[in-house]
Amino acid sequence: MKAKSRPSALEKRKNLSSWLLSLPALLWLLCFFLIPYLIVIIYSFLTPDIYDVKFEFSLAAYRQVFSGGYLRPFFLSFKLAIYTTLCCLLLGFPVAYYIARAREKLKNTLLIFIIIPFWTNLIIRIFSWRIFLSYSGVLNGILMNMGVISQPLEILRTDLAVILVMVYVYLPYMILPLYSVLEKLDFTLLNAAMDLGANEVKAFFSITLPLAVEGIFAGTLLVFIPALGAYLIPQLVGNQRSLYVGQVITYKIKNIPRNWPMASALSLTLLLLVALMLLIMYGLYRRHLARRQTQ
């Protein structure tokens, strides 16, 4: 018996061709992801100039980040991401559940309704929200006509508006992964749980929820991480009193005197925080899987 056979000619060719096939993507990542990031890393250690940077090593940017000067934007961004994720989860779960249990034909129609918003450009959608929420906008008009309010509400340019639009934009990213696990859920398991004495609420928490964990993980990743770096939505419907990390980074580059090192350091800090979040979630997920592993 041969202990370990050498790779056959076919295997070698397979290896070679898979390398060749992934080469374009690898080159792409190298040019447009890795190298730009290296530039960002280098810039974060330089000294700011009015328009550009001076090539002198400096830790000033990091000193400022870690001395707590930018705690508020980070705090706001985290709060926004957590609220958005929670709202998406709470709103998205019943929707995903309902679609998963619907008849086959209705299922596809409903799924299309979830996907339709993607057909319109994000900025156009955000601007329609601005029209809808503005001081003399549709929502205020309806409420005034109904007599619910006597004066228009200031909704646009509030933190509430930011969360509202964030949830609107990210809801499909939560619903779709949840749907994909709930669709595979065997609903007779719920019958079995009820047969064994669990009422609807207990059956949900002991059967449906644990079996949907993978969808919750996936949905949370898809919503939480982009929400953490949100720029466009706070910029277009939020106010200047609460600036989120994404906005602060942009201002450091846009406003003169420019501060490239500061923007870079903030970006990298955000990146590290996202990586940390990913690690934590990965750990949680591994623990969840480990409980299902062979003894």
Partner: protein
């Protein structure tokens, strides 16, 4: 003592009536089966007893309690599901403990009772495995333990063996009977497999198109079917039609037409006496007929037919002969028991005598063949005859 009482229970799904006015009493400690083809309403009936469906009409009682509108989790009834429905994210221990945990039973007691249950189903050494790590038969055992640990008054089994292969099915059937004897509660068993139902049940109900066609002990239903459907669905049989010539206390004389212009006479037993001169259908089970190339010695030629072998199907434990008598085709099962050692096997085209005991010819009903659908008739080889009669 009665455990489950169904009173005029119905269930409609839109225009389709799944269960149509079923009334039935199931006694305490009984192993009762619902037997019928798919779509006959047996599973719907079971789901109504379990609480997963609400009846459109009628009442269901468990002992003295009306449970018609109770949700499943408030009934002292547990179910074994067709695909077991074990919780995939829980160990076998946690699966079995589920019902007790819901009831907030103390931990120490849970541990003891789960062990006890796992012992009952011989799975005590697998408690920490997950459902996807065990075989179909083992899943079945866990499903039984998970249900019985709640000490239900009634255990419902929905085609519990359908997913297992033949050998395992036979084995589990015996095990189910043993478990039934050990726990002593009422079992209600739903199946489309007549072998399972006959083997396991104290009593069974044959269902067709939402109605109970006949209920009783298995041998009663097999030997004395009251309708053409029970005769057709359980086991195999020959249906022959004839005219009543004379009526006696416990048998009647029939004149039958073999379709080829000849008539023959036979004796037949019955449940309800028909009028002299009326046309009736009777059932003659293939295994009750003796087949021989020599004419049997008898005083008269009643319950004796001469025919020709048209087909021979060797089936291992027995052989099925299809014997043509006039235009009738009669099926005969003959076991391979050799009484005379110089017996030569019967062959194709051979002329044979068929004969049977008086009481094995069982009259069912007047013109009963009209009740079977065309598909069912063609399965039992009676289609052409029935169609001809409907046409004439």
């Amino acid at each position: 003592m009665e455990d489950i009482v169904l009173e005029n229970v119905s269930k409609d799904f839109g225009v389709f009536t799944a269960v149509d006015g079923v009334s039935l009493t199931i006694h305490s400690g009984e192993l009762f089966s619902f037997l019928g083809p798919s779509g006959c309403g047996k599973t719907t009936l079971l789901r109504m007893i379990a609480g997963f469906e609400t009846p459109s009409g009628g009442t269901i009682r468990l002992g003295n309690q009306d449970i018609t509108d109770l949700p499943p989790y408030k009934r002292e009834v547990n179910t074994i599901f067709q695909n077991y429905s074990l919780f995939p994210h829980m160990t076998l221990f946690d699966n079995v403990a589920f019902g007790l945990r819901i009831k907030k039973t103390p931990k120490a007691e849970i541990k003891d009772r789960v062990r006890e249950m796992l012992n009952l189903v011989k799975m005590e050494d697998q408690a920490n495995k997950y459902p996807d790590q065990i075989s179909g038969g083992q899943k079945q055992r866990i499903a039984i333990a998970r249900a019985l640990i709640n000490k239900p008054r009634v255990l419902l089994l929905d085609e519990p063996l359908a997913a297992l292969d033949l050998k395992l099915r036979q084995h589990m059937l015996i095990e189910l009977m043993n478990i039934h004897d050990a726990v002593g509660i009422t079992f209600i068993y739903v199946t489309h497999d007549q072998g399972e139902a006959m083997g396991i049940s104290d009593r069974l109900a044959v269902m067709n198109q939402g109605k109970i066609v006949q209920e009783g002990p298995p041998d009663d239903i097999y030997e004395r079917p009251l309708s053409i459907f029970s005769a057709y669905f359980i086991g195999e049989t020959n249906f022959i039609t004839g005219q009543v010539k004379a009526l006696y206390d416990d048998y009647l004389e029939l004149v039958c037409d073999d379709g080829g212009g000849k008539s023959f006479e036979l004796d037949c037993s019955f449940q309800h006496a028909p009028a002299v001169g009326s046309r009736v259908t009777f059932s003659l089970r293939p295994e009750k007929i003796a087949i021989s190339r020599n004419k049997p010695r008898a005083q008269d030629d009643i319950n004796m037919l001469k025919g020709q072998i048209e087909d021979i199907l060797y089936l291992g434990s027995h052989t099925q002969y299809i014997v043509r008598v006039g235009k009738l085709k009669i099926r005969v099962f003959s076991q391979h028991k050799r009484v005379y050692f110089d017996d030569k096997a019967l062959d194709w085209e051979e002329k044979v005598w068929l004969f049977w005991h008086d009481t094995d010819t069982w009259m069912i009903e007047n013109d009963a063949l009209e009740q079977l659908t065309e598909a069912q008739l063609s399965e039992s080889g009676q289609l052409s005859r029935a169609l001809k009669r409907r046409g004439s």
